[in-house]
Each structure stands twice: as structure tokens, then as C-alpha cells.
């Protein structure tokens, strides 16, 4: 048994958020299968400990940039499940009024500067947000989420150099799920220890188990302190795994079922729930109760989304210009 030292409230909060994300994603997979949800969706299932652990380490008014696999970031940053679900179905009540959808799911009012349909699309925005925070001396930080695939984009290097040179308060959170769509880190990258990419710009980094919510929280907390304190950017590489394919049409021929099972055996929700019970922070009954409560929330979110109207035709040209 491994010891964990957290309060009951923390345990409930983390477990509940991770379950919300997992069930949200599983439900979207169902809805895609039933053609209730149209288009595509890149699901975060398996990676929940990163969004939840990282967001637990920042303040409400800190900012984030998200990715094409961003539903989990939205939930953990405080987005409401019904409006997120409505957005994925393209409804007027969605957080982007039905104009963003899964690929651009972001509730800007929660301090989320955007999911991004372009891999690496958040790097420049994160550097610029960091520049504002530094110039205005607000004491806030930006968490810039991205994947192992995005680190090969030119804009990573341009903006990491800028953030490094200007000591911007940006904490890079690399979600290394080992594959950029189908191409593994080993096949794509000349450097597989992704922290070395940060070192090139004199940015300190740490690699953690991205399946462990408390490990993520601890590392991000440490580096947020560092970056908030004016020392410049930092990076936390979180090793993780996405349970579903890149998208619904992905047959996952590039990885083995055995590999998938190994990662699922280390599932962030199961393991954390078990630790909470083992350490007598929660009872199994309480864990089961949270799961059931979340299921009810997801059902309510789906009902809200399905019952919501689509945008009115006149919405087509709304919100283009300020």
C-alpha cells in the first residue's frame, strides 16, 4: 500500500473530476456511435490525471491554453458539463454557441484561451498571454498544454525561445501519450526524452507519471511556484496513454492490445480510488457513490444538450467581428 496524504475534500474533488472527464468521454463515444454527435472527437480518456492534477496546482484566475484533445482541460478548468456537451453537439447553448465544437471546445470565461484544431496552435497564444501577465505584473501564470506530437512544430521552438529569453510565466505541460496520431515518439522524434527540448531554451523540466494525479499536482505546483516567482518558463512532461484511438475511425494498428492493457491496468481513476480506500480517506461505498453521482450529471448534461436548440440562422455572421 502506498501512502497518500490528502484531505477527504481533495480526494473527492480529484476523483469526481477524473470520473466526470472519463464518463463524459465514454458518453461522447456512445453518442458518436449513435450518430447523435456528428463529426469527430479526440477523446481524453486515460489522461484525466494530468488535467485534474495540473489544474489543482493553479489558481482560478490563472490561464491555460488547450489542445485538440481538450475536453478534459475544459472540465478541470471549471467548464460546466451541460454547456460543454451542448457545444460538442453544436447547440446554441454550448459554451461557444455551437460554433466551436469538440475541436475548439473552450469556455474562455473560465480562463481557457482555447482548444486548438491545429497541433501546437496554443504555443504562440500562451507566450503572448505570458507576456501580458509579465508586463502587467499580475502574478498569474499560463499553463500551456500540448502533446508529444506538437513539440515537433516550429512554433514550439519559436515561442519556447521567446518565453525563455523574456522569462515569461508559462508552465508547459507536455502530455506525452506516446503517439502523434499513429506515429510513435520513437518514430517521429530525434530526441525521445522530451524534456531535452526544453533544455535547449534553458527551460527546466521534470518528467512525471501522468497516470498519478498527485504526482502531477506536486510537480506542477512546484514549477508553477517557480514560474510565478519570475524565474521564467518551466516544463512538466507527463507520461500517459490515450485509451481510445486518435479519433473514432482509428483502428489502432500502430500499437498492441497488450500495451493498451498494461496502461489500463494502471488506470488513473482505479488506482487513485484504491489508494483513497487503502489509506482510509474514502470508503469503497463513497467511491462508488461518486461514480454514480457523476453518471447522473452526465445523463443530465446529455439531456440538456440534446434538448437544446441549434443556433438560429442569423447566428452565422454573429461574433465574427467585435
Amino acid at each position: 500500500m502506498s501512502d497518500i496524504k490528502i484531505t477527504k475534500d481533495e480526494a473527492v474533488f480529484y476523483l469526481k473530476q477524473m470520473m466526470q472527464i472519463r464518463q463524459f468521454e465514454d458518453k461522447i463515444m456512445d453518442l458518436l456511435g449513435q450518430n447523435v454527435a456528428e463529426g469527430g472527437s479526440h477523446l481524453y480518456a486515460g489522461e484525466e490525471a494530468i488535467a485534474v492534477g495540473a489544474m489543482a496546482a493553479i489558481k482560478k484566475d490563472d490561464l491555460i491554453t488547450s489542445t485538440h484533445r481538450g475536453h478534459g482541460h475544459c472540465v478541470a478548468k471549471g467548464g460546466e458539463l451541460p454547456v460543454l456537451m451542448a457545444e460538442i453537439l453544436g447547440k446554441q447553448t454550448g459554451c461557444c454557441k455551437g460554433k466551436g465544437g469538440s475541436l475548439h471546445l473552450a469556455d474562455v470565461s473560465t480562463g481557457n484561451l482555447g482548444a486548438n484544431g491545429v497541433v501546437g496552435g496554443g504555443f504562440g497564444i500562451a507566450a503572448g498571454a505570458g507576456l501580458t501577465l509579465k508586463m502587467k505584473k499580475t502574478g498569474q501564470v499560463v499553463l500551456c498544454f500540448f502533446g508529444d506530437g506538437a513539440i515537433n512544430q516550429g512554433i514550439f521552438h519559436e515561442s519556447a525561445n521567446m518565453a525563455g529569453k523574456w522569462k515569461l510565466p508559462v508552465v508547459y505541460i507536455c502530455e506525452n501519450n506516446m503517439y502523434g496520431m499513429s506515429v510513435s515518439v520513437e518514430r517521429a522524434s530525434a530526441v525521445t526524452d522530451l524534456g531535452k527540448r526544453a533544455a535547449a531554451y534553458d527551460i527546466p523540466s521534470e518528467t512525471v507519471d501522468g497516470m498519478d494525479v498527485l504526482a502531477v499536482r506536486e510537480a506542477v505546483d512546484k514549477w508553477v511556484d517557480y514560474s510565478r516567482g519570475g524565474k521564467g518558463p518551466s516544463m512538466v512532461v507527463c507520461n500517459t496513454y490515450r485509451y481510445y484511438g486518435h479519433s473514432r475511425s482509428d483502428p489502432r494498428a500502430y500499437r498492441t492490445r497488450e500495451e493498451e492493457k498494461e496502461w489500463r491496468d494502471r488506470d488513473c481513476i482505479k488506482v487513485f480510488g484504491r489508494k483513497c480506500v487503502d489509506n482510509k480517506i474514502l470508503t469503497q461505498k463513497q467511491v462508488d457513490g461518486i461514480e454514480k453521482e457523476v453518471a447522473g450529471e452526465i445523463e443530465a448534461a446529455v439531456k440538456f444538450a440534446v434538448d437544446s436548440p441549434y443556433p438560429a440562422p442569423e447566428e452565422l455572421f454573429e461574433d465574427l467581428y467585435s
Partner: protein, 324 residues
Amino acid sequence: MKTITYWKAINEALDEMMEKDPSVFVMGEDVAIYGGAYGVTRGLYEKYGEERIRDTAISEAAIVGAGIGSAMTGMRPVVEIMYVDFMGIAMDQLNNQAAKVRYMFGGKTTVPLVIRTEGGAGRTLGAHHSQSLESWFIHIPGIKVVMPSTPYDAKGLLKESILDNNPVVYIEHKMLYGTKGEVPEEDYTIPLGKADVKRKGKDITIVAYSRSLLRSLDAAKELEKEGIDVEVVDPRTLLPLDIGTISDSVKKTHRVLVVSEDCKTGGTGAEIGMQIMENCFDYLDAPVVRLAGADVPMPKSPVLEKLAIPDKDDIIKKVKEILG
């Protein structure tokens, strides 16, 4: 009124806006100590310091990208891209981020960003330093595109661009920096999306902007000697385009020539010409005609470069053809 150069007009606009609003800052390659590749930001670093006049690494994508992020979070950045030719490096930032984040996120954010850049032929710099790429930008909903031709317009439009809450691509012309014109002593701005009739006439309308506007005015002056009365309309802003003012002119003259320096195929002449057809076809006594740049990469040789863009003589010849 005072008479100043085009570069000084832009410089004054930046200075006045920075003085008024601490959230306005400048960032780009060689904008600080060097004062900008064409000297537009000279003196500002000495006045405002390196915090607000920021020299960057040679990283166009990050310059525009960080401009977007800082604009979304409360600043009013004016970023400089040294040559419009280098916008290709930052195009994803402009097209996919700056232009779209407001719409994609349901109107919950704004991007008060100005991208100042410079284009056009005339210095025999060849294909990577002489392009006119404005038609790329007018194809992007969510941004505005400004191309001033005079010091008066340059100053008033830049101040308005900085005040605007949307991303603005503001394109200067390298051959205009030394041109002079009258500018009011007092504070003024010019609304975006408003064309200006630079010369009144009754026989034919020429629609032209940036350096081509000056060449069109020169052509009009010569044509006047031959009794041809040309009206010259400067859109000043290409997106949104003030098709109303252009149409009013065409309805009066019944003939129109569109002059620009960009490559002809898929260029601004195609768009402006088509909008004229959509708005005032019944008033036309002759087909809409365009004069534009040759569909080639800009050649280095001064002889070929001159051939590649419309000049005064080309305009005069084309006007006479239209008038029969």
C-alpha cells in the same frame, strides 16, 4: 496642417497611441535599437524603452502568435513583420488563430492586434522582398486589411487600427516611405472600411490603393491635358471594402478601371471588379477592366521589375482603350 513623410506619419501614430494607452506596445525584428528595417519605429525605443519597444528573435510565427495571446489578455500589441513576404511563416497564426478565435469561441474573446508590415515592388529586391500579398489576407474572414497611400491616411488609419478590437493587417509600401503629404496638427483618426475619393472626375473611375493610387493620380493629371476627366477612388481599407463609395462613383462615370500591384490571377482586382458587377452592372457602359501585376515571382532585374507592375503609362493607355 504640417507636411511630413509617410514613415513619419506612421511613427507619429505609434508614438501618440503609446503615449495615450500603456497597453499599446511594439514588438518585432529590429524595431528597437535599429528603429525598424525601414526606420519607421526610430526614436520610440529611446522614448519608451525595451519593455514597450521589443526587439524579438527572427521568429515571425511567435511574433504574431504572441501578439494574439497578449491581445486576448488585455494588451494592444502592434507587431511588425519586416516584409509581407515573411507573413507566410506566420500565416497559420493569422489565419487559424487571430482571425478565428473570437468566432470559434462564441464571441467570448477579442484580438485587438495590429500586424504592421510592408510590401510592394520598386527596389529591385527580387521575389522574396517585393510581393503584394493583400489578396491572401482579404480571403480571411475575421480580420481587417488596411493599405494606406498617403501620410494623412497612414496616420489616421493606423491610430484607428490600434483602437479597433479586431486583428488588423496594416500594409505599408516600401516606395512610399519618403513621400510627403499634409497631416493635421491635431488628433484625428480615419474609420476603417471607408473609401476616399482622391480626385473628382466624370469620364471614368479608377479604383486604386497604396502606390498604385499615386500612379493613378499622376495618370489622371496627364489625361486631364487631353480632356479626359478621371475620378480616382482609394478604398484605403480592402477588408471591409467600401463598395458603396466605389459604386457611387461608377454610377456617375459608367466606366471603371481597377489598378493594383498584386498578381492578377485571384487578386484584389478580381474581387473589386466582381463586387462592382454585383452592385452596379446596369450603370456600366463598358466592361470592368483591371490592371494588375504580372503572374510571375517578382524578378530582380530593374527592367523586368518595371514591366511586372502597372505604371503611369500603362494606366493612361488602358484608360484610353476603355474610353475608345
